[in-house]
Amino acid sequence: MNTSRRINIIVLSATSFISILLLSFSLATSAWADEDNITGSLGIREMTGRYVPLDLTFQDETGKEVTSRDIFNKPTILTLVYYSCDHICPQMLEGLGVALDKLELAPKRDYDVLTVSFDERDTPEIAERVKRNYIGLIHHKMASEDSWRFLTANRDNIKMLTDAVGFHFQRHMHGFVHPAVLIILSPHGKITRYIYASKYAYGVAYPVTFSPFELKTALTDASQEKVFTGRASALLYCFPHEPKKQETFFSILSMAGTSMLFLLAAFFIYLVTTSKRFRGDRK
C-alpha cells in the first residue's frame, strides 16, 4: 500500500522537524548561559582644571589637518562620539543642537562646538555626512558652516585626547560602549566642566535634552577660565545591545529556516517528478 509509505514520509519529516526544533532549543538555551559583562575602565574620570594637549592633530570635514592649538581659542563644547553609532550619540547631538539653537550666545563669536570621533576608522567624508544632519539645527544669524565642526583623528591622537579629558570607552563587536557627556573647555584648552546626558525620555522627539541655561552658564564660566566641579549626577552610557552569542541564536534560526525550505523544496520536487506514477492509483 502506498498510504503507509506516504505516512512514513510524513512521520519522517515531522520527526526531523521536531528534532531540529529540540536541537535549536538546547543550543539556544546554552547560548544564554553566560551574560555579557563589561569590565575594565569605562566612564568619566573628571579632569577639571587640567589642560588638553595643544599639539594634537585632527582632520576636519574637508580632510585638512588641524591641531588643537588652532582650534581652541574660544569656550568650546566638546563631544566625543563615533559616527556609525545608531544608539544615543545621534540623539545626544540632536539634543545638543536643539539646545544650542535656544542659546543666547552667538556661535563662532562666543563659543565653538566640536565633535570628535573616537573611532579611528571614521573618515572626513563620513564626518561631513554626519555634519549635514546637525548643522541645520542652529538657526542663529551668526551660524555658519564652521560653527559646529566634526573631526576625525588617528588612534594615537584619539587616545591622547580621551585620556586627557578622562573619557574611557571600549570597543565591542558591534560598536562602542561609552559615556554620553558634553565637555566644556576654556579658550586655552582647560577642562572647566562636564555636563552629563543623564536622562532619556522615551517616546518623544528629542529623548536627550540639555538645558540652554546650563550651557550658557558653563560657556560664560569657561570664557573666564572658571572651573566647575561637583554635582555628580547619573551618567548615561551609549552601548550596542548585542548580547554575547546572539549570533549563535540567529544562526540556529537560519539553520532551522533553511532546512524547512529544503524540506519543502524536496517535497515540491517529489510531487512534480513522481506525479504520473501515482495518478489514477486511487479508486
Binding site: T3, P243, K283
Partner: protein, 532 residues
C-alpha cells in the same frame, strides 16, 4: 465501500452508513465533506462567540468602566482577537469550503490523505479546547492582545503559556491541511484537469497550502520560545536577560503577515467562482487571476516589516519593506480588475451570493487602498497603533475574508445541505449588514486619523461621537447577521429541496447531486475545457 458504490446514486453522504453511529459517525469520518461540514459548524460557532465579544467591546467603549474594568477589557479584546484570528478566519475558508469542494472541483473522490485530514480536525478541536481552557482555569485569561508581544507575554500573570500552546497546535492543524491540499491538487486531478483548467478557487487553495506549510512553522518556533521563556525562564525575547523583543516581532510577523494571505487568498478564490456564474460570463483573464494568487503568496512573504515601522529598524529596511508592500497591491489589483471586467457586458442576476461577493470587492478595495496609506512610511509613523489600523484590518479580514465566507455560504449552501434558503431575507440581511459594517468600521478610520490609539480602555471626550457611531453600527451589523443566519438555519429545517445546479454553475460540484453522494462521482469525469 466498493459494494455500496452501486446505489450511491440515490443516497447523499449524510445518509451513508459507516462503522460508527451518532456523533462518532461524524468525528471518526474521513469523508472530506463530513469533515468540511464539521469545520464549518465549529468555525461559525467561534464566529458567534467572537462577534459577541466584539459587541461587548463596543458597548464598553461608549461608556468605559460601566460594564467592567480595564483589565477585563484587555482580556476581552485579546480573546476576541485570538478566537477570530486563530479559530475562525485563519482556518476559515480552506478547512470548511476547501475540504468540502476541493476534491469535488478537481474531480476526485476525497483528499490525498483522508486520515490525515481527520487528524487535522482533531488537532483543531484540541487546540480550540486548550485555548478555551486558558480562559477558564485559575489565573487570568490572556491579556496581551492576539499578538502575544514579548516581553509582556513573558511577564504577565495571565494564562499565556496555555493559550500559546493551543495556538501552536492549531498551527500544526493548519500545516497538515496545507500539505494535504497541495498533495491532493498535484495527485488527484481528474483526467484532462490540467493546471490551467482547474477552478480558480483551487488555485487559491494551492497557493494558500504553500503559505501554510512555509509560514506556520515560524509561528510554531516563536510560540515555543514564548513558552520556554515563561516556563524555564529562557530569555530569547526578554531584554533583561539579554534577549531581544524586536526579534519576537520579526518572527511573529514573518508568520502573521503571510497568514493574512492564508485568510484572503481563498476568499478571492470564492469571489472568482461566484462572479462569473452570476454574470453568465467566463472569468475574464483566468490565467492572470490564477497566477496573481501565486504572486500574492510569494510577495506576501517579504512585507512583514511594515508591521514594525515604528519598532526600530534601519531606514533602508523600512524603505524596502514599504516598497515591497506596494508591490502586493499589483496582483490584488489584477484580481479586482478582472472581476469587474468579468461582469462587464455580462447578463447579471443579482442573487444574494453575488451581493456578498460585490460587497467583498468594495470593502476589500477600501481595506486594500487604506493598506497603501499605512504601507507608506510617513503616514504609517502617524497612524501606527491607532484605530486607523483597526479599521483597515477589519475591512480586510471581515469585509474581505468574512464577506467571502458569507458569499461562499450562500453560494454553496444548496450544495452542502441540499436545501434552498429564502432569497429575500438573505438580501435584507445583507443590506443591513453592509450598512452596519460601514458605520462600525469607517468611523474607526476617522477616529484613528484623529489619533485615537487602539487597545485603549478609555479616551478623551473628543472621540466620543466616533465611538458612539461605531457602537451603533455594531448593533446594526449584529441585526444583519441575525437575519442572515436565522434565514440559513430556518432553511436547514424547512427549506425547499435544492436542485443539483440552482445557479447555473459550470464547475464540477454543480454536476453532481445536492447534497453530493458519498464518493462524489459515480465515474471520475474527463475534463475537456476550463470550467470557470
Amino acid at each position: 465501500m466498493t459494494e455500496e458504490r452501486g446505489n450511491s446514486k440515490e443516497i447523499s453522504f449524510y445518509e451513508e452508513k459507516g462503522r460508527y453511529k451518532g456523533v462518532l459517525a461524524w468525528l471518526m469520518s474521513t469523508d472530506h465533506k463530513r469533515i468540511g461540514i464539521q469545520y464549518l459548524g465549529a468555525l461559525l460557532s467561534f464566529f458567534a462567540v467572537g462577534v459577541s465579544l466584539g459587541m461587548i467591546i463596543r458597548l464598553s467603549l461608549v461608556s468605559p468602566g460601566w460594564l467592567f474594568g480595564a483589565q477585563t477589557y484587555d482580556e476581552i479584546f485579546t480573546t476576541h482577537g485570538i478566537i477570530m484570528i486563530f479559530l475562525f478566519i485563519i482556518p476559515g475558508i480552506p478547512v470548511a469550503f476547501g475540504n468540502f469542494f476541493l476534491p469535488i472541483m478537481i474531480g476526485a473522490r476525497d483528499v490525498a490523505f483522508p486520515r490525515l485530514n481527520r487528524f487535522t480536525w482533531w488537532l483543531y478541536l484540541a487546540g480550540a479546547a486548550i485555548v478555551a481552557l486558558s480562559l477558564f482555569i485559575h489565573g487570568e485569561p490572556p491579556d496581551t492582545g492576539w499578538t502575544f508581544y514579548a516581553p509582556y507575554s513573558i511577564r504577565t500573570q495571565a494564562n499565556i503559556a496555555l493559550a500559546v500552546f493551543g495556538v501552536f497546535i492549531l498551527g500544526f492543524s493548519s500545516i497538515l491541511t496545507g500539505l494535504n491540499f497541495v498533495t491532493t491538487i498535484h495527485r488527484l486531478r481528474a483526467p484532462g484537469m490540467t493546471w490551467f483548467r482547474i477552478p480558480v478557487f483551487v488555485w487559491t487553495l494551492y497557493a494558500t497550502g504553500w503559505v501554510q506549510m512555509l509560514a506556520t512553522p515560524v509561528l510554531a518556533i516563536t510560540l515555543v520560545f514564548i513558552i520556554l521563556g515563561r516556563v524555564f525562564g529562557v530569555g530569547f525575547f526578554d531584554p533583561s536577560k539579554g534577549g531581544d523583543p524586536i526579534l519576537y516581532e520579526h518572527l511573529f510577523w514573518t508568520y502573521s503577515h503571510p497568514a493574512v494571505y492564508i485568510m484572503v487568498l481563498p476568499a478571492m478564490g470564492i469571489i472568482s467562482q461566484i462572479v462569473p456564474v452570476f454574470s453568465r460570463e467566463k472569468l475574464f483573464g483566468y490565467k492572470a487571476v490564477a497566477l496573481s494568487a501565486l504572486g500574492i503568496a510569494i510577495v506576501g512573504y517579504f512585507v512583514w516589516g511594515h508591521h514594525m515601522f515604528t519598532s526600530g529598524m534601519s531606514d533602508t529596511a523600512r524603505v524596502i519593506f514599504s516598497f515591497i508592500t506596494f508591490l502586493v497591491a499589483v496582483p490584488s489589483g489584477v484580481k479586482i480588475f478582472n472581476w469587474v471586467a468579468t461582469m462587464y457586458k455580462g447578463s447579471i442576476t443579482v442573487n444574494s451570493p453575488l451581493l456578498f461577493a460585490l460587497s467583498f470587492i468594495f470593502l476589500f478595495s477600501i481595506g486594500g487602498l487604506t493598506g497603501l496609506v499605512i504601507g507608506s512610511l510617513a503616514p504609517n509613523l502617524h497612524l501606527h497603533g491607532t484605530y486607523f489600523i483597526v479599521a483597515h484590518f477589519h475591512y480586510v479580514m471581515f469585509g474581505g475574508a468574512g464577506m467571502a465566507i458569507l458569499a461562499g455560504l450562500h453560494y454553496w449552501f444548496p450544495k452542502m445541505f441540499g436545501k434552498m434558503y429564502k432569497e429575500r431575507p438573505a438580501k435584507i440581511g445583507w443590506l443591513i449588514l453592509f450598512i452596519g459594517f460601514n458605520l462600525l468600521y469607517f468611523s474607526m478610520f476617522v477616529l484613528g486619523y484623529n489619533g485615537m490609539p487602539r487597545r485603549y480602555f478609555d479616551y478623551p471626550p473628543q472621540y466620543f461621537t466616533g465611538h458612539l457611531v461605531s457602537t451603533i453600527g455594531s448593533w446594526i451589523l449584529a441585526v444583519g447577521l441575525l437575519i442572515i443566519f436565522g434565514n440559513l438555519i430556518r432553511a436547514l429545517f424547512t427549506g425547499e429541496k435544492a436542485p443539483a445546479n440552482p445557479w447555473g454553475g459550470r464547475t464540477l460540484e454543480w454536476k453532481i447531486a445536492s447534497p453530493p453522494p458519498p464518493e462524489n462521482f459515480k465515474e471520475i469525469p474527463v475534463i475537456k475545457e476550463t470550467l470557470s
